[in-house]
């Protein structure tokens, strides 16, 4: 079967190799050109003892990434969750409980999928959906001042117990950090000892 790049649709070169014959090579979903258009951010901030003990972001929010998010979230191209699956799997290979930032149920139905869950599913990372939103407003519609002054955005679901261990909250994009801080606060107040954050993109 001829495979095409998920982003630019050009045919992916399938150079036969021993690796591919033995099934050892990594499966490519995008072409080299598209892959090079994304720029690594590789942000890793450790602030032990604060709300978020460690924040990791993988990529910069450049034009290519903007285009990617648009196609993934607004054109609803779920298949694109595969593009960064390997990257996410690598950073999430830890002894911790992975928690996606939740979406409002109505919004999830409108989009037909929750983007963070889709990313985690493609990465084959087991996760626990322990948080829920307290209201409907999306972060993007608020000013920075409004975001900072928000009451708690998330709460732990009623029949869930939070263990005294490390949790990693995952989101697609880090803008002001408000979303992640709210999620971390909710988890710590419910008994988590340590909360880390991982985002695919850093704006």
């Amino acid at each position: 079967m001829v495979k095409e790049c998920l982003l630019c649709e050009q045919t992916l070169d399938a150079t036969p190799s021993w690796q591919s014959l033995l099934g050892l090579d990594q499966q490519a979903f995008i072409c080299g050109d598209c892959s090079n258009s994304f720029k690594r951010a590789d942000i890793d901030i450790k602030e032990e003892g604060t709300t978020i003990d460690r924040t990791t972001s993988l990529y910069k929010y450049n034009a290519a990434m903007k285009e990617f998010l648009h196609q993934f979230k607004f054109l609803q191209d779920v298949a694109l969750a595969e593009v960064f699956a390997d990257d996410l799997r690598r950073v999430l290979k830890k002894d911790a409980i992975i928690v996606p930032i939740p979406m409002h149920p109505a919004k999830k139905v409108a989009r037909t999928f929750a983007q963070v869950e889709a990313l985690l599913k493609s990465a084959n990372v087991p996760y626990m959906d322990v948080l829920e939103k307290t209201d409907m407003v999306s972060m993007g519609e608020k000013t920075k001042a409004e975001r900072l002054a928000m009451p708690s955005l998330f709460k732990v679901k009623t029949n869930v117990t939070i263990k005294p261990t490390t949790y990693i909250v995952v989101d697609d994009i880090y803008t002001t950090g408000t979303t992640l801080r709210h999620a971390a606060t909710a988890l710590k107040e419910a008994g988590a000892t340590r909360v880390e954050a991982v985002t695919l993109i850093r704006a």
Partner: protein, 459 residues
């Protein structure tokens, strides 16, 4: 009031297949027509089990049936496995739980009174082709106009289109590239001033009037179903046409049952000729409308041009050629096979003249830049094959960098050469192939051009 609304919805949806959630009308209006049976709902994706109990999907909008172009996921809306088509994704996603709508009510009646304001005169060859095309249309059989670049293909279509319009028929001219549509639109508006014409391409917003003559990129045809009495496919051989079966299905889906599909091209494929040869429905024109021969390409070696450009200098021959064009103030097009190489070369050309610009399919100002070249505001352009066809710039001189590259096949080279000498004031011009080795495609193109000039039939 209710009645006017009815016509608007009817006029818009007639012949279209549209996303229920994205019409220009309020949801309640659409709901009311669904209830009355005037609008019919079609599921977005048709899925059936094959013999090996694998799922086979077909997109009801774009007719895509390639398994690799579908993705199945766990849908939060229909709460189950849901499949969507990635082929026409950019027109708004179509999935298993997406509803498409078609107009099933009384059909729009198009006017039969039109004015025909073109007062040019056809050459004998054009006249003959035009009559043959009309005859084929009457017989409802597919026709091929095989005419050299600059033969005046568009004018050949005028009379047959006028005939169809006065019969109240709905007509579509489809072309694979937006540049071709943009070039055709003003000419057709001028020729048919009282006809409601609509040009559809990516980014153009569809109007809600009952457009009788539609100009559309072949992609836009995905959104039509049994809409047209005739479709003319211009530049029929061009990308993505030959390569893309889905588009062929899309054209077939867009015409009414048994309606003819006509093809117009300078470089028909063997299949295209074979398909029409059986019932003798081919018209050939081997002379340009001004009677001058097609420019024959000349070869110039440009060894290791990639290396030169990567090192930051233009090869000497190319430099001299460009400097001459600038000095003589002749507009020029320089074709590249690869965007990255072209963008490396752009600043090098700008050292000669700051006005030289590079364009490619995804360039945001593509339309404006081509217009400035035509208006003589720019000295020349570097381009990918997007400008190989459909555009006319008087006295343009053409060079191909790396004519040996695979993308420059026989058809592409003939089309590129066809840009040269199109106007009767400047029936000549330079057509140079700079190369790192001569390919069969280059020789084939050259032989074909010479043969056409000698008046030989080429199939």
């Amino acid at each position: 009031m209710a009645y006017t609304f009815n016509t608007e919805v009817k006029n818009f949806l007639s012949g279209r297949i549209w996303l229920r959630a994205h019409t220009p009308f309020p949801a309640e209006t659409i709901d009311a027509y669904i209830a009355s049976g005037d609008i019919q709902i079609i599921p977005g994706i048709k899925s059936e089990k094959t013999t090996w109990s694998q799922m086979k999907h077909i997109c009801n909008r774009c007719q895509n049936d390639e398994p690799s172009r579908f993705t199945t996921f766990d849908c939060a809306k229909c709460e189950g496995p849901c499949t969507y088509c990635r082929k026409c994704l950019k027109m708004g996603r179509v999935s298993t739980c997406t509803e498409l709508i078609i107009w099933a009510g009384e059909q729009t009646v198009y006017p039969t009174i039109h004015s025909f304001a073109w007062n040019g005169i056809l050459t004998t060859h054009q006249q003959k082709a035009s009559e043959e095309l009309m005859r084929s249309t009457e017989l409802q059989r597919s026709h091929l106009i095989y005419a050299v670049c600059g033969a005046g293909k568009t004018e050949i279509l005028f009379q047959p289109i006028y005939q169809l319009l006065t019969e109240g028929k709905r007509v579509c001219i489809a072309a694979p590239r937006v540049d071709v549509i943009l070039e055709l639109e003003p000419r057709l508006r001028e020729a048919f001033p009282s006809t409601l014409i609509e040009a559809l391409y990516g980014g153009a917003k569809p109007g809600i009037g009952p457009a009788q003559l539609i100009l559309a990129t072949t992609h836009q045809l995905y959104r039509f179903q049994e809409a047209f009495d005739v479709v003319f496919v211009d530049e029929a051989d061009a990308f993505p046409y030959t390569a893309d079966e889905t588009l062929e299905h899309a054209v077939k889906k867009a015409v009414k049952k048994s309606a003819p599909i006509h093809f117009v091209t300078a470089t028909p494929s063997k299949q295209l000729i074979a398909g029409r040869k059986r019932n003798a429905s081919i018209s050939t024109i081997q002379r340009r409308y001004h009677g001058h021969p097609l420019p024959v390409p000349r070869y110039e070696t440009l060894w290791h041009y990639t290396r030169h450009i990567k090192k930051g200098s233009l090869p000497k021959k190319l430099l001299t050629w460009t400097a001459q064009r600038l000095q003589k103030q002749e507009p020029f097009l320089i074709f590249f096979h690869n965007i990255a190489l072209m963008e490396l070369a752009e600043p090098l050309f700008q050292k000669l003249d700051a006005g030289v610009k590079a364009i490619h399919a995804a360039h945001p100002e593509r339309k404006e830049i081509v217009r400035s070249l035509r208006n003589k505001q720019l000295p020349g352009l570097l381009t990918t094959t997007i400008l190989e066809r459909g555009i006319t710039i008087p006295n343009v001189q053409v060079a191909v960098i790396g004519a040996e590259q695979k993308i420059f096949d026989k058809g592409a080279l003939i089309q590129i050469g066809g840009r040269v000498g199109r106007s009767s004031d400047h029936p000549d011009g330079d057509f140079v192939l700079f190369h790192h080795g001569i390919t069969y495609a280059m020789d084939d193109a050259k032989t074909e051009i010479i043969r056409l000039n000698e008046g030989g039939v080429s199939w």
